[in-house]
Amino acid sequence: MILVFMEVREGKIKKSSFEVLSEGWRRANELGTEVNAVLAGGNVEGLASSTFQYGASRAYVLEHNLLSKYSSSGFAQALFSLVQEIQPGIILLSATAMGKDLAPRLAAKLGVSMASDCTRTEVHDGTFSVVRPIFAGKALATFTFQSSPQIATLRPNVFPLNEPIEKQGEVIRKEVILTEEQIRARVEEILKEEGAELDVTEAEIVVSGGRGMKSPENFGLLKELTSIIPHSAIGASRAAVDSGWIDHQHQVGQTGKTVSPNVYMAFGISGAIQHMAGMASSKYIVAVNKDPEAPIFKVCDFGIVGDLFQVIPSLKEELKIFQRD
């Protein structure tokens, strides 16, 4: 059995968890087994049945007031008990902030190794394997697992969502035994900027600015673009972040975030190896740069050689015309 952890934030299951569930369903079919979902939190039962249409046969619900806020130790303990009982062969999570934090803690509790941030899973002759980028995507490594359960986190935005299917499933509540002392680091509050936008890792379109943007004010131009492009977010090169033009939360690259949106748009970014490391798994790359020799033009799907200060206003107009029609 494949067990998929469904991440709940702000009362909703994350899209990337459905991506993992979709992948789990595909592999479960190849392995001749079933895929099941698990939800943990303070009040998550109402969300459980939405997993059936992505292939889950069962949705396990782990509810406890000590799980109403995420903690690695609390969630790992609750999942550990379930895993001991139902013995899945494979456990998959999304490689989000939560998944990256939880999976290794759970793996260590179970005494098994795991594979992080995978971009492909495969089944050959009944054996499950995963492919993951190493050296920031400069190489791809394939792994199999010696131990059981086999645990992997999957990179968000990489695995396609299945078309929802008509499927009946079973919601199974499991008792969770947890004490206050088992919550080792407690989340006191979540600090969110007023009017915070979508995170770069979750956006379908990332609009990124580099040193070519020249000033913090000019990032306002990118903001104007994201305000008219749905599901978009602002990214940045390290040069822009280190110049203090934008917060490092937006940095894409080896020491920033890894993103794989549908479209990555780079304005005034040269395409240094450390920057590419963070965006090379994007489906389409668009570059705007006034230097025709900029390395980014070697990897982009669509490039404009030109001055971004002329391109952005014009692009805005074109998008508006398009949206009006």
Partner: protein, 260 residues
């Protein structure tokens, strides 16, 4: 306060990665190895905490004798002591193996700590596993991907980066913290530091000294092959009046990428 920092030797981020003909490892000749960038933030944080809380900073690295250079760098930055946890295995990409060695060393030989600092992820393996695994194996609180850390007596508060927000978490010591960019600005080594580091003895503890045998360190994660990623094809490049080039771009976004 007794602070331990865990650091790894990795190829610098500029490196071109070449794969050995057997497809099982990378070619290490010609690579320039450095202290993993996120570990620099961890070392810097330890030095800053020592400045306000007093105490001692000890750095550890699991690896071959070649890791002595990064331990020297940490000493030159200002760490008090360094220890090599000597392990001659080549890169396994198996976080649990490293976590077991670190845990065993802490249990058997170095049990006197208040805070364990890590980088959020090692460059190369890109696992982001070892800190959480060590925390679990030692039964300690953990806060990963930390951009702000405050210690008050036996307690701490840390800001942890999540999607589009920060989690403010509280914990008691001893604890595991992994550092993210934004936590601080790592200092450079001073000339005086470099001279002192040269003279400093770095003891080595082998995995055998720690009583770890083959079966303890056997791999669960089996590396089948390493390949180069498929090259990206160069696409359409246009030049000219912005009004024309952006029309083409919008057309590309609509017809090919199908995002608008």
């Amino acid at each position: 306060m007794n602070i331990f920092v865990f650091v790894k030797r990795v190829p610098d981020t500029e490196s071109k990665i070449r794969i050995a003909p057997d497809g099982k490892k990378i070619i290490e000749e010609d690579l320039n190895f450095v202290l993993s960038p996120f570990d620099e933030y961890a070392v810097e944080e330890a030095l800053q905490l020592r400045a306000t809380h007093e105490g001692k900073v000890t750095v550890f690295s699991v690896g071959t004798e070649e890791s002595l250079t990064i331990l020297k760098k940490c000493l030159a930055m200002g760490a008090n002591e360094a220890v090599l946890l000597k392990d001659d295995a080549i890169e396994t990409y198996d976080g649990l193996r490293t976590a077991k060695i670190i845990t065993q060393a802490l249990k058997e030989k170095f049990s006197d700590y208040d805070l364990l600092l890590f980088g959020k992820q090692s460059v190369g393996a890109d696992n982001a596993q070892v800190p959480s695994m060590v925390a679990e194996l030692l039964g300690l609180p953990q806060v990963n991907v930390v951009t702000k850390l405050e210690i008050n007596g036996a307690n701490g508060v840390a800001h942890r980066e999540i999607e589009g927000a920060l989690e403010k978490a509280s914990f008691s010591l001893p604890a595991v913290i992994s550092a993210q960019k934004g936590l601080n600005e790592p200092r450079y080594e001073t000339l005086k530091g470099i001279m002192m580091a040269k003279r400093k003895e770095i003891p080595a503890v082998t995995v055998q000294d720690l009583g770890l045998g083959e079966e303890d360190l056997s791999l669960n994660l089996i590396l089948m092959k390493i390949e180069s990623p498929p090259p990206r094809k160069a696409g359409t490049i246009v030049e000219g009046e912005a009004s024309e080039t952006t029309k083409k771009l919008v057309n590309f976004l609509r017809e090919e990428a199908k995002v608008i």
